[in-house]
């Protein structure tokens, strides 16, 4: 930490950030610093004495971390419930040092948290998966609100089948644990179980401003992967999607296609592709 008094606005702001954008309480930092560094605070902050100058900086230190911590707790409520207050606070402090907020929108602060958790060597891998699920829910919530394609709209379209795509914000997450069960327990304020091994995939999407997630059924994997890879502005032919919903030659295939398509339509997963729109 430099002890030179800042000579211009940029240096002053860097000086401030060096003191307040680290996780330790400032009085502890001050105890660990050489005397001249603490004296530099009262040379910059107007106060009757050094302790008061540090106390004034501490107000900002507490407010900044409280706000960032609250934002993370709001975006990752199940993770916070699993770790408990102290555990989540410690994780948030460690995370924010590694990933300070990089943009004006507080909403984006938690974006790197799932990756950060996955890279922590001592951390359980189920926690990174749970964080990934929660961030996918945030992503879906903030995504553009597409008007879902419904059976009624499809009937109204008559012979001209529309081009379709997944509603904005839809994500498929590969998981190795039943983090969906952990999330559900946290959401209902129930006792949170230890995550158990349960490989599979989770589908996350938004319908009518509410974010949903569920396990993928085996038949959905291929058509969903195709839809996502074809997530271009002009979408895919509904007829071609139907082919992929039941690709075998089973005589009951047509009925199965309609059942599966109806399920996706009822869930609000599909929207009519409009030129210029992207997922």
């Amino acid at each position: 930490m430099s002890h030179e008094p800042p000579s211009n606005l940029l240096e002053l702001q860097r000086f401030f950030a060096r003191w307040v954008m680290q996780p330790q309480p400032l009085h502890r930092v001050a105890q660990e610093q050489p005397r001249h560094l603490c004296e530099s605070v009262s040379a910059v902050v107007r106060a009757p004495d050094e302790d008061t100058a540090l106390a004034r900086l501490s107000i900002y230190h507490r407010m900044i971390f409280a706000r960032l911590h609250a934002s993370l707790a709001e975006d990752f409520p199940a993770l916070a419930a699993v770790l408990g207050e102290q555990g989540f606070r410690a994780l948030a402090a460690e995370f924010l040092v590694a990933h300070p907020s990089g943009g004006p929108n507080l909403r984006d602060v938690g974006r790197p948290l799932p990756g950060f958790l996955a890279r922590l060597p001592r951390q359980r891998s189920d926690l990174a998966e749970l964080a990934r699920l929660e961030w996918a829910r945030v992503h879906a919530f903030d995504a553009r609100d597409d008007r879902p394609l419904t059976v009624a709209l499809l009937h109204a379209a008559g012979e001209s089948l529309p081009r379709v795509r997944l509603v904005a914000g839809t994500r498929v997450l590969e998981v190795r644990h039943d983090v969906d069960a952990v999330w559900a327990a946290a959401d209902r304020d129930q006792t949170i179980p230890m995550a158990a091994a349960r490989p599979g995939a989770l589908l996350v999407w938004k319908r009518a401003l509410v974010v949903w997630h569920r396990r993928l059924e085996p038949w959905e994997r291929e058509p969903l992967a195709w839809l996502r890879s074809a997530a271009s502005s002009d979408g895919v032919e509904l007829g071609e999607l139907c082919v992929r919903l039941a690709p075998d030659d089973d005589p009951e295939s047509v009925a199965r296609v309609w059942t599966r398509l109806q399920q996706w339509l009822a869930e609000g997963l599909l929207t009519v592709a409009a030129p210029g729109a992207s997922v």
Binding site: L12, A17, R46, Y60, P100, P104
Partner: protein, 282 residues
């Protein structure tokens, strides 16, 4: 500037109610600009629902006209898109800095008030007003410290900023009271420093007082008496000004917030009603 009346801040806890009932009974809403930076979600659903019913104003917390690097082009570009979508009556932010070297603090931080900073902030305000093609209002902030380097008060700095750039002031009366509590600053001196006609909007809010005598700008609870007192003084100096009640913590039902706006309306009517000529003595 149009006198929209007495509005309230649009807060997420009111979204469900507004989606169901609309904005009846609200004179105008102040919307946090950055809440609209996403592509969708509930904020946009609410705005779609109410934008034709009630005037909207945009109020940013992340522009950073006091950042050493100034507001980013990306920020201004997104703000322009939001302005185009919502057609706000005006746009405001804060006289502060908030980020350095790509790290955002998400706090409203004080700048040193002296000529070099003033020149820098004037250049940034000119840039913002040119980019947005509209006048910007800047809010006086709550400060928990003062810089040794400051050579003028915040009021003097704002007054000179207004004179040089043509921007306006969003006068936060609660912030004046909090700064008086924590730093011993005189709210009336700030009012006197600001030229008449410079104030385009007033903010009212509550704060939290602690046993050690300090105060934090929490925007919780009803507007305290000390804030109402300075509001009265501000109205006497600046005349009728669009006024908005902020309530950000332990947010009550919207009716309770609207009751605070109604109180501000009543005070304005009481202070600024045309005086009735006295009957001549018999």
């Amino acid at each position: 500037m149009t006198h929209l009346g007495h509005g309230v801040g649009l807060r997420p806890s009111h979204y469900a109610w507004l989606l169901e009932h609309g904005a009846a009974g609200v004179e105008w809403f102040e919307v946090i600009s950055e809440n609209c930076f996403g592509a969708g979600g509930r904020p946009w659903a609410v705005l779609e629902r109410i934008r034709d019913e009630v005037p909207l104003v945009l109020h940013g917390v992340g522009m950073g006209v006091g950042d050493a690097r100034g507001p980013s082009d990306a920020y201004l570009a997104r703000l322009r898109e939001v302005i185009a979508a919502l057609s706000p009556a005006w746009v405001s932010d804060h006289l502060c800095w908030g980020s350095v070297d790509g790290t955002w603090t998400h706090e409203l931080l004080p700048i040193p008030y002296h000529e070099r900073t003033l020149a820098h902030v004037c250049a940034q305000v000119d840039r913002v007003q040119g980019s947005l093609r509209r006048r910007l209002l800047l809010e006086n902030i709550t400060s928990y410290l003062q810089w040794q380097a400051s050579e003028m008060t915040e009021g003097e700095f704002l007054a000179e900023l207004v004179r040089r750039t043509g921007c306006g002031v969003l006068l936060d009366v609660n912030n004046l009271v909090v700064n008086a509590t924590n730093l011993g600053l005189d709210p009336m001196a700030t009012l006197e420093a600001l030229p008449p006609g410079s104030v385009g909007q007033i903010h009212l809010a509550g704060h939290t007082r602690y046993p050690d005598g300090s105060a934090i700008d929490t925007h919780v609870g009803p507007v305290p008496d000390a804030v109402w007192a300075v509001y009265r003084a501000a109205l006497r100096r600046f005349g009728a000004v669009p006024t908005l009640v902020e309530w950000d913590d332990e947010v009550p039902p919207i009716d309770v917030v609207l009751a605070q706006a109604a109180r501000a309306r009543a005070i304005e009517a009481e202070l600024l009603a045309p005086s009735t000529p006295e009957s001549p003595a018999p």
